[in-house]
Symmetry: C2
Subunit: 725 residues, 2 copies
């Protein structure tokens, strides 16, 4: 890619960004869109616009607001997980700014004033020399003393990263601590999850088994237990019932509206009862759904009883009267054998993956390894198609393979646009297919909570992106040339990546620019959710509940957002010394990201769970993985440059490993469990344990009609148990 197409690409991305900004400034001030642009504030019962109503509002007020909000605001509006995500963004921003401040003024002149490049040809994508390439390390002659500057640059970037990561880990650890020691009563802090219950002895119910076990160990602080049941069938009936209720509400809304608009007696809505409501007998909707509801309720109640009595599984939730005991219990070995009575801290009720709880210890281990194998195969075999996609979609290759395209492609305007976007678009579309698959796989592992499954999926996605996008594109982009070279000299596999890096520099510059201009532009302006909402409101939604469902924003989506950001970070780090010109792009990406997501976190997205920053060690580990990849790559690239002092980089790699080890030794355990000094902080009130307990009853089993007497088999009550023991 030459300079011209690069500037074109950059320019058009920027244009799209500006347009999207204007659209946002205009649309976000309109009353009708308020639920799309301020749902989080509305759901929290706050005024969408702080001071000054919409119409006369400064269209750039959001920037001032985003900049002026403190971390506490973020935590109160969006939780600790979001705050940890911002620590990530600002840490990376810090790393890049500090790196850029030194690398740009030093390395660019060093590279630009050398003339080594004229004799070598491994610096530009297609051998055409451009001004951009003159600013990169590729322009420096092999073995030149100037390479010392780049070597020191590598050290500088690494040490900046160590420093800021260390501070960030400390900071997130403090955030987590203050969340866990908060005086608010949080149900999950009084509960533990017990898995792998052994078979109960003859004549003992599960509940009696669990109660007597925990009462013996915690005679004073045990409150109550809830045996996990197999809820598949009861959930199905419950969903059916909820479906009928929604349809009934909808039919009633239509009827009420028809009274207003048409005849005063109104038109009673009807529907067909056959396949998808398209065939079959026509019936009066309100009557029909009322009837269905009346039919289903007793069915549900019967199934609830059966579930609670007969579908108990080998795990349970146990509730304590004290936070310290719950935190203790979650960390200690209860039974002699580890595969019995496994106790872990309970996730929030809303993120409990109920159906995974019954999977036993060995199954979980086996599932985990099977999933790892599947993911490994996925990563390896996706690499082949992605390599080809990226090799084919460079225009010259396309011309070679599909010669009939030549007349179209040679058209200057088309050529420029195609050259700028084709490979990147192919890549972005390609990557959008995967996350759901990885989340599905992660849940198969038997993980008990949603947040944990998302972390696991996100980790897999990160490694996938690195191997397939970064390595795939870099090595794949020079696939045709490199295969030949490897054939001639098999040893060059070692320096394969280092060798291919410079050729893909402009590709990644464009990739990053596209991501931040178009990606964040779409993010802020929320064009797609806006259109969907308005369409739904006009044609589908008939009542308040349906309307709310239409604008409900969901959460930030860490599962894909974090690996996406980490991929950008990896790219920018790996190029930071080779082509320092990428650093400003990285700074823009993370700076804009921080600003725009701050707005989104405060006003738009509603977190769907709270894991108190457990995402952080995960992010930290992957930043270090990126740093390691960067250092190894640099080592390889210095070797390509035939620089004798390249081994000076080996201590750096060892320091990174030590740093990773020390961090995980020092900080990690607190993210896996709750420190007792934190849990022992005082509460502002005596916890209402009945409420804590009730919060874990799944909605499909929650019924006012079912009194405690019937819950007895699966849900225990201490007073009753005590008299039995």
């Amino acid at each position: 890619m030459d300079l011209k197409s690069f500037v074109t690409s950059l320019g058009s991305s920027f244009l799209i960004f500006v347009v999207l900004m204007i659209i946002f400034a205009w649309l976000s001030t309109r009353q009708g869109n308020v639920v799309v642009y301020y749902p989080n504030r509305i759901l929290k019962g706050l005024d969408p616009w702080e001071g000054g109503s919409g119409r006369f509002r400064n269209p750039f007020a959001w920037i001032r607001e985003a900049l002026s909000t403190s971390e506490e605001d973020v935590i109160s509006m969006s939780g600790v997980d979001t705050a940890a995500y911002f620590v990530f963004l600002s840490t990376v921003l810090g790393i890049l700014v500090l790196s850029g401040l030194v690398l740009l003024p030093v390395l660019l002149p060093v590279a630009a004033t050398d003339n080594g490049n004229k004799s070598s040809s491994d610096t530009t994508s297609n051998g055409t020399f451009s001004d951009l390439d003159k600013l990169s390390m590729g322009n420096v002659e092999a073995k030149a003393p100037r390479l010392w500057a780049f070597l020191l640059g590598t050290y500088w970037v690494s040490f900046v990263t160590y420093l800021l990561l260390w501070r960030a880990y400390k900071h997130v650890s403090a955030l987590r601590a203050s969340a866990l020691m908060s005086p608010e009563v949080k149900s999950e802090q009084f509960s533990v999850l017990v898995r792998d219950l052994p078979a109960a002895t003859e004549g003992q119910t599960r509940k009696e088994q669990v109660d007597s076990y925990f009462k013996t160990i915690y005679p004073e602080t045990f409150y109550r237990s809830m045996v996990v049941t197999d809820n598949k069938k009861v959930n199905k009936i419950y969903e059916e019932l909820e479906g009928y209720r929604k349809k009934l509400a909808r039919a009633e809304a239509i009827y009420a509206e028809s009274k207003k608009t048409g005849k005063p007696e109104g038109t009673r809505p009807t529907n067909k009862i056959g396949f998808l409501g398209l065939i079959g007998k026509k019936v009066d909707s309100i009557e029909y759904y009322n009837e269905k509801i009346n039919e289903t309720i007793p069915k549900l109640e019967a199934e609830q009883k059966v579930t609670l009595r007969e579908k108990q599984r080998n795990s349970a939730l146990v509730f304590f009267t004290s936070r310290v005991t719950a935190a203790c219990a979650a960390q200690t070995l209860h039974a002699r054998m580890v595969d019995n009575w496994t106790v872990i801290d309970a996730p929030e009720a809303r993120q409990l993956l109920w159906s995974n709880l019954e999977i036993n210890f060995y199954d979980r281990q086996i599932r985990q390894y099977l999933v790892y194998i599947v993911v490994f195969l996925t990563i390896v075999f996706y690499m082949i198609p992605i390599g080809f996609v990226s090799a084919f979609t460079t225009l010259e290759n396309l011309e070679k393979i599909l010669p009939f395209l030549k007349p179209v492609v040679e058209e200057q305007a088309i050529k420029t646009v195609l050259e700028a976007y084709l490979p990147q678009l192919a890549l972005i579309v390609f990557l959008a297919l995967l996350p759901k698959f990885l989340l599905f796989l992660s849940k198969l592992e038997g993980i008990p909570s949603e947040s944990h499954a998302i972390r696991a999926a996100s980790g897999k996605y990160f490694y996938f992106s690195i191997f397939n996008v970064f390595l795939g594109v870099t090595i794949g982009g020079t696939l045709f040339t490199t295969i030949k070279r490897i054939e001639n000299n098999p040893n060059s596999v070692v320096t394969l990546l280092a060798d291919s890096l410079p050729a893909s520099a402009t590709f990644f510059l464009t990739f990053v620019a596209l991501k931040f201009f178009v990606g964040y532009g779409l993010e802020l302006s929320r064009i797609v959710p806006l259109i969907i909402f308005h369409l739904k409101r006009k044609y589908l939604c008939k009542n308040e509940a349906e309307l709310k469902e239409a604008w409900f924003p969901g959460d930030l989506g860490y599962g894909t957002r974090v690996p996406g950001d980490l991929l950008i970070l990896t790219v920018v780090l790996c190029y930071s010394v080779i082509a320092p010109i990428i650093i400003p792009f990285g700074v823009l990406y993370f700076g804009l990201g921080w600003l725009i997501l701050r707005n989104q976190a405060l006003k738009v997205y509603v977190p769907s769970y709270e894991s108190n920053g457990r995402m952080w060690p995960h992010i930290h580990k992957r930043i270090i993985a990126a740093l390691l990849l960067y250092q190894v790559t640099m080592f390889g690239y210095f070797a390509v440059k035939e620089f004798y002092y390249a081994p000076i980089l080996i201590p750096l790699i060892i320091i990174t490993l030590i740093f990773a080890y020390v961090c995980s030794m020092k900080f990690y355990r607190f993210f896996r469990c709750t420190a007792l000094e934190v849990a022992s902080h005082e509460l502002k009130e005596v916890p209402n344990l009945e409420r804590v307990f009730r919060s874990y009853i799944p909605p499909s089993l929650n019924s006012e009609k079912i009194d405690d007497e019937q819950f007895e088999d699966a849900l225990s009550q201490v007073s009753r148990t005590t008299s039995m023991v």
Copy 2:
């Protein structure tokens, strides 16, 4: 080594064994030796001989007694650690017996009836063919279908090992559980050790810091704390004082005796006060030592005060009123940062390595790695001399290098004895030098308890023996020939061990036989301790205390005993299929060992600590390491035999790794910490916490004169603390 020298060696070993047995039968029935042969029973206040007094006793009664005692007897006489050691011996015995029952009748005929050996020459030590070698796998022709029998033999031995190891782990785990749930009050079950205390805040003493921290977390079950002090100086003064007291008692005994034997007024003993009592002024001993004692006591008391007030260090012992809380506390994270407030379970008071407690978190890490490096270097560089020793000490090599020895060595009788013993003796002497060094290194790591340090040293010693004795002798014995071969064909490094094994088979047969006949003969007859005791009694001991010191037997010495046994096991396992004739030797070693050590454990040795079977996972891991080495060696040896189906052994290696993983997952955690269901068993009495607390005060700080008021700074008391907080 040919058959004749092998039989000679075996015969002479057996002769020594028989002589030692007779000596034992004779000496052990004499009243005067009772403290040498029955010290453990005497110290436990039991009658040395159960039923029938010494003189008329059946000299083989000890065998019946050893066989008839149950595991409970062993535990009550010698503790759970000893019982776990016997589980080890009987498990290995079981493995070898079951292996032998199948391998001996099947593999010996298969090997003996083949004639492949005549054409190959890699089977005997020096190319001389012997009957022994005919019974080994070396006698089977390369590529022969008969090798299938050996391959199946390899599988059989492995599966027998899995089965018995699994049962043994379960069994030891049950032993540990019943020890930990015993209704007896054991001090260490109410205590935890807290290390890495952060700096106390201004105006707060260490004791206040610890007390307030633990009172917040465990308001109901916290009892008291004891801050660890730097006792170096006070210990020194205390030892000085104890020395004077001993000398005074001795002087008084001499004086009393002189009254009886000599003049009625007696001779007052005197001594010189200069260097080693050899020079200087002559003084009256009783007066002198009394004076010294009176001088030292106030010094000790002053130093005790100073130590308690000013030499407090960054760790403490914390005592709880409940076993469950102590078990909980030892497993849970207390502070956010792992390098602060590290809580682990307290070792017994008697095995606490007081001076290691103040070493902080990072120092411990660094020390550990440094020690690992030192041990690694030791292992690697010891290999060189030991290889040469073993290569030189084969007679033929000696003759070559030192030709003037030839006339002596050619003498038939000398030659036979030398050939039989020279290499083994060199080896045994060599190995005796190391354990103390390794224990010293292990203590440098900052380990808090004696038993842990011994485990660590014993692990290092095991790896040392394997690498240096087993591999060193095997490869070193053929060093001169193999070096040449490697020069010609570098790839043969892979099959080096497999290639060298058969040549060293008879060496190890003799080694094992020497170990069990002479080693266990000496063990049972206790010739050396007996002689030392009688010499001391006659010439040195003047009073009861000194006499007791002279016969006090010490403990079983797991630190060297376990790695020794494991070395034999490794040797026997590795040869079990190659030369099955070694199996009966292994059976004899472990069978005799079980019998003789049973006697010693019941009647002689006094355990110096109790770790409730924590040694087991350590032994288990190393048995598996031996099994792995065996499987890898067999794989190599089948490759040497050019057997096409050798890769069938690869799944076996994978199964071993999985087995090791599953065992450590399932069982290990309970050996690292106490399961709560075990700790929650009822006690037979309300624990006397004052006594629990006092048991941890080191003798040098323990003084009736020092009342609680003065202990206040380092030793806390709840009532006082409560009023302060």
